[in-house]
């Protein structure tokens, strides 16, 4: 008998709902920006707003169930991202999930958004074994996480200023490339010489696994300023290639250093920056040289989506890690902690495990 989980994700820009069976079979994974909700909604949908989540959530849930060929009565659990993120946005998902779980009398499962990114890998590789290292790189996060079992994580490195994805976007904007910056720099860098322009790589103090990309961003801006003052043309392809290499080299150097220090032989990549071609290729090659295994989820599972939340929830379901119906949004939720209010005391008549 399958375990069917419905998950909701509304922590930032995306409104998403997914239905998955047994932790790895994606029956549906609806992400609002990827469906024509403007048409269905019949009005202007603001890009970023709690109200947007409120307006879209029911549509997205209906579509997720329809595509999965499921009804509410088929669900074994309802999961939701409850942090970190925007409190107003998170509350939309949390309130809806609580209502569904209460109405259906099935367990409610609260999921950490960053944990979800890591678990995107379990959708592709359900047999993935611990321990592993995961580099979570996105617009909002750059974290190096050591996981030794389900639900047990240690953040051993993180950015002290800008996230890697943010550095890509801001540098692209400064160079006049447009948005989103990641893919544009990735493409432009292909025709550039990464060693033509000297840019700083921030390794911070010896032994540190933390990251810093703010100085690199400033170095690119300074380079452009100086060139403009002297009336010189900047070779944008060289600058893009040099910048990208400076980011990717530090990300990989620190990840491999962490693998050597911890003796872990499996490395996972997660988050939107995992789409960067140079990062994927260089990490695969350099990790391969050290006989380390690398796993990278497909792009649709790297950016924010509810399937990764449903997957995380499946493993929490198996170990009975349910949230109380008093679950609240926790904007500053840390990886590896569960901040539920009180303990769940409801009866779990439909719990199969």
């Amino acid at each position: 008998m399958s375990v069917i989980v419905l998950a909701l994700e509304t922590s930032c820009d995306e409104t998403s709902a997914a239905v998955i069976a047994d932790g790895s079979k994606i029956l549906s994974n609806i992400i609002s920006s990827q469906v024509d909700v403007h048409c269905k909604f019949g009005g202007v949908v603001p890009e970023v707003a709690s109200r947007k989540h409120l307006e879209l959530l029911n549509l997205v849930v209906d579509e997720a169930l329809a595509e999965a060929g499921m009804g509410f009565k088929d669900l074994d659990a309802v999961a939701v991202t409850y942090g970190p993120g925007l409190v107003g946005a998170l509350l939309v998902g949390v309130s809806a999930a609580k209502a569904y779980a209460y109405g259906l009398d099935v367990p409610l499962i609260g999921v950490n958004h960053l944990e979800g990114h890591i678990y995107a890998n379990f959708l592709e590789h359900p047999g993935l074994s611990f321990p592993f290292l995961c580099l979570v790189v996105s617009g909002g996060h750059t974290d190096l996480v050591l996981a030794d079992k389900h639900g047990s994580y240690r953040v051993i490195g993180k950015t002290r200023d800008d996230a890697a994805g943010e550095a890509f976007d801001k540098v692209a904007r400064t160079m006049g490339l447009g948005y989103p910056g990641g893919p544009l720099i990735d493409r432009l860098a292909l025709s550039g010489d990464p060693s033509a322009i000297k840019l700083p790589k921030a390794y911070l103090e010896k032994g540190s696994l933390d990251f810093s990309f703010s100085g690199l961003k400033s170095a690119v801006i300074n380079h452009l300023h100086r060139a403009a003052q002297r009336g010189k043309e900047v070779d944008k392809a060289d600058l893009a290639a040099g910048f990208q290499k400076a980011v990717v080299d530090v990300l990989i150097d620190k990840t491999l250093e962490a693998a050597r220090e911890t003796g872990v032989s499996t490395i996972l990549l997660a988050g939107g920056v995992a789409a960067n071609a140079r990062l994927r290729a260089d990490l695969a090659k350099r990790a391969g040289d050290e006989s380390l295994r690398v796993m990278i989820p497909p792009l649709v599972l790297c950016t924010d989506n509810a399937a990764m939340i449903a997957c995380t929830a499946y493993y929490k379901y198996l170990r009975g890690a349910f949230a109380p119906l008093t679950l609240n949004a926790v904007p500053d939720l840390k990886l590896g902690e569960d901040r539920y209010e009180g303990n769940f005391r409801g009866t779990l008549s439909r719990c199969k495990v």
């Binding site: 603001p46 709690s50 617009g139 703010s214």
Partner: protein, 159 residues
């Protein structure tokens, strides 16, 4: 007009830290300056002055980061937003008129919905060195005129 010159990112954060030490519940600080000017660096200092140990990272993508020190600290970045209505929908009034301190990066983009009483701070690059900056605070309202006077006293005493 008050003006503070700094010659390193650490010094810029130091001014933020002194301001952080003076902030009270309900205070709103608005930062303006181009990319790479040091707004987040300044905000990191403010957080330190509020007794926050957690690493303070840029909220450009996450939009609002919340921290809890001597007072709650709401670190907002509106760089990604185009319409003030979006910021209204994020519940910004609950932060502005709430129980903590709110700091907004790129605030001038959302001028029309900011509280009338606030402390504006412009951070500009100057030619003296790559990390040299001039910090220009502009108070709006009596509370912020007093706050700025306290800040200038502390900054001058420090020098």
């Amino acid at each position: 007009m008050s003006l503070i010159r700094t010659s390193s990112a650490e010094e810029t954060a130091g001014v933020g830290e002194k301001l952080g030490g003076l902030l009270q519940v309900g205070d709103v600080v608005c930062l303006n300056g181009e990319l790479g000017a040091g707004k987040t660096r300044f905000a990191q200092g403010v957080a330190r002055g509020l007794g926050i140990d957690a690493p303070v990272t840029s909220p450009t993508f996450t939009l609002i980061n919340e921290y809890y020190g001597r007072l709650p600290f709401y670190h907002i970045d509106v760089f990604r937003l185009d319409d003030p209505l979006e910021m209204k929908d994020l519940g910004c009034d609950e932060y502005f008129y709430g129980t903590g301190v709110t700091l907004v990066e790129w605030a001038e983009r959302m001028d029309e919905i900011l509280p009338e009483e606030r402390l504006d701070i412009a951070i500009n690059r100057i030619d003296e060195g790559v990390d040299s900056r001039e910090i220009i605070p502009a108070p709006h309202g009596e509370r912020y005129r007093r706050l700025l006077k306290e800040l200038m006293d502390v900054v001058c005493a420090g020098n």
